[in-house]
């Protein structure tokens, strides 16, 4: 299933100096998320300071890759035409076990029954030669 993305020429991430460690780690098959050393909360997307307590003491830490489904939708007509090749597909907002939420691509059949809270796990997926943090439903 994951093979269909390999040659997909969709827009990749526009990486910044602050977010670079996140994407670099993914290319080493690691999923890291920032954590605040003051209030101990996890932070996503990558920032210069903690949005909860404004501490600038953020550290990259290994995240579990476990998440729960918050909501999803089946994209029939993608906002970017390059995605049409794999449509319909499912995008989702997931809540990482560590707390923060992120947008992701869900590796499921569009007919699969999903629910708020469905347990998910990280499934690094090559898109255009880059490891992307997609998720799939835990068996």
């Amino acid at each position: 299933m994951e093979d269909k993305f390999i040659d997909l020429t969709v827009p990749g991430p526009t990486i910044t100096p602050v977010s670079k460690p996140f994407w670099d780690a993914l290319s080493q098959d690691e999923f890291v998320v920032q954590r605040c050393l003051d209030c101990t909360r996890w932070v996503f997307y990558p920032r210069n300071l903690c949005p909860h307590c404004w501490s600038n003491q953020l550290e990259w830490q290994q995240a579990s890759g476990k998440a729960r489904l918050k909501t999803w939708s089946i994209v029939h007509r993608p906002g970017h035409p390059a995605w049409q090749a794999v449509a319909p597909y499912v995008v989702a907002i997931v809540e990482l076990e560590e707390g923060p939420s992120m947008m992701t691509h869900l590796l499921v059949d569009v007919k699969q029954k999903l629910d708020i809270g469905t347990p998910l796990e990280l499934c690094l997926t090559k898109v255009n030669d880059r490891n992307m943090p997609f998720f799939r439903v835990v068996d």
Binding site: Y45, K70, S73, H76, W83
Partner: protein, 389 residues
């Protein structure tokens, strides 16, 4: 600081361009200028009497120095000018800012204007849309349709709301648009079944639940100049209350998918006006998608969270109904001229309060609730407008 004027600021001028599916041979600056000219004519004022200017961001044509560019184009010399950048809430955000600038003694007569071209096959995009561009787009989640589909799905899962309930909102928008000859869907009504039979663009959103992008423009003039207000051929309309809140940009970063900032904004606007939502004679609610109207009805406290569908079953939403809602057809029926789309809710409210909504006039319209919503249910502004100060 200038001398504060005695009169309470009033809305005295409206300018609106008829929405068109595609513009041809037009520029955004030209359409801004025409919208302002129409508003000045409506207000019965000369250009030299305008001394305040609020504009929106112009991603394609004029990304920076927008007030200066618009001033130069129109030959204006405003003593207060600024960009309001609140997406669909920009129009509503402009109105209370115009009033605040007047009350601060910085100017007397402000024009708020939004307009844009919409050329076939041309989409203007900001060169840098991070962090959405970095953390949404690479997952296949580009554009507002996807964000609002995610929000609608959550509502359906959380509360058991149904496709039929959302489709009813689109049906009413189209139905009301049949009384507005300028609406893009004039003579194109849609039944609930039509809405449900329209293609799923991003499931669970159907095509007819999504606004049609159009070219167009709108301008509103607010003044505290007593002579202008007295000489105005229209009854003055006042902003009696306003509320605003901004929480996030990307839908994935919403602090809570249920607690929309409009809840705060609407309550604040009603509180300032010392009025209850049940006293509103018109609900002019921002409707880029059907689901936004559903959640806004809940945010306004007209029904408990999750219950808009049940509530709507017992009410009627035409100009002659018990809860007139978007009598101009809303943006779902009228068309969305980019940021000016939000302004259409203000223009209709003022027309109704003036008693000039010909063919669709609400009887004894005294108060209107106007909402604006930008980004992903995250930029929220609410206004209470009324015919008495």
């Amino acid at each position: 600081m200038g001398k504060r004027s005695g009169a309470k600021p009033a809305i005295v001028g409206l300018g609106e361009l008829k929405p068109v599916r595609y513009t041809e041979g037009q520029t955004t600056l030209g359409m801004i200028a025409e919208s302002v000219r129409l508003a000045a004519l409506d207000a019965g004022i000369e250009k030299g009497q305008i001394d305040g200017l609020l504009v929106g961001p112009q991603v394609g044509e004029t990304p920076q120095h927008v007030p200066a560019t618009v001033s130069e184009y129109l030959g204006l010399e405003p003593r207060m000018s600024n960009v309001v950048d609140l997406g669909g809430a920009t129009g509503a955000g402009m109105l209370w800012r115009a009033q605040a600038a007047i009350n601060a003694g910085m100017c007397e007569t402000v024009v708020c204007v939004l307009a844009n071209t919409h050329e076939k096959g041309k989409v203007s995009r900001s060169p840098n849309r991070n962090p959405i561009r970095e953390f949404d787009v690479p997952f296949g989640a580009s554009g507002a349709n996807t964000s609002y589909a995610l929000l609608k799905q959550r509502h359906m899962e959380e509360y058991g709301s149904t496709q039929e309930q959302f489709a009813l909102i689109a049906h009413w928008a189209r139905k009301n648009a049949q009384l507005h000859p300028d609406a893009i869907f004039y003579r194109k009504p849609a039944s609930v079944d039509d809405v449900l039979a329209s293609p799923l663009i991003v499931d669970p959103l159907h095509l007819y639940e999504i606004v049609m992008p159009v070219g167009g423009g709108a301008a509103v003039i607010v003044t505290s100049n007593e002579r202008i207000i007295d000489a105005n051929k229209h009854p003055p309309v006042y902003c009696l209350g306003a509320g605003e809140k901004v929480t996030h940009r990307a839908v994935s970063q919403a602090p809570a998918l249920e607690a929309a900032p409009l809840s705060y904004a609407i309550a604040h606007a009603l509180g300032q006006a010392r009025l209850k939502v049940e006293e509103m004679n018109l609900l002019s609610l921002y409707d880029c998608y059907t689901s936004v109207v559903g959640t806004t009805l809940e945010n306004a406290g007209l029904c408990p969270p999750g219950k808009f569908g049940e509530w709507m079953k017992h009410h009627s939403f035409g100009h002659d109904g018990d809860f007139p809602l978007n009598t101009h057809g809303g943006q779902l029926g009228f068309g969305q001229a980019d940021l000016a789309g939000g302004m259409s809710h203000i223009i209709e409210a003022v027309r109704q309060l003036r008693g000039e909504a010909y063919g669709r006039q609400i009887k004894r319209a005294r108060y209107a609730l106007v909402t604006g919503n930008g980004a992903t249910l995250s930029e929220a502004t609410a206004l209470v407008l009324g015919g008495e100060a």
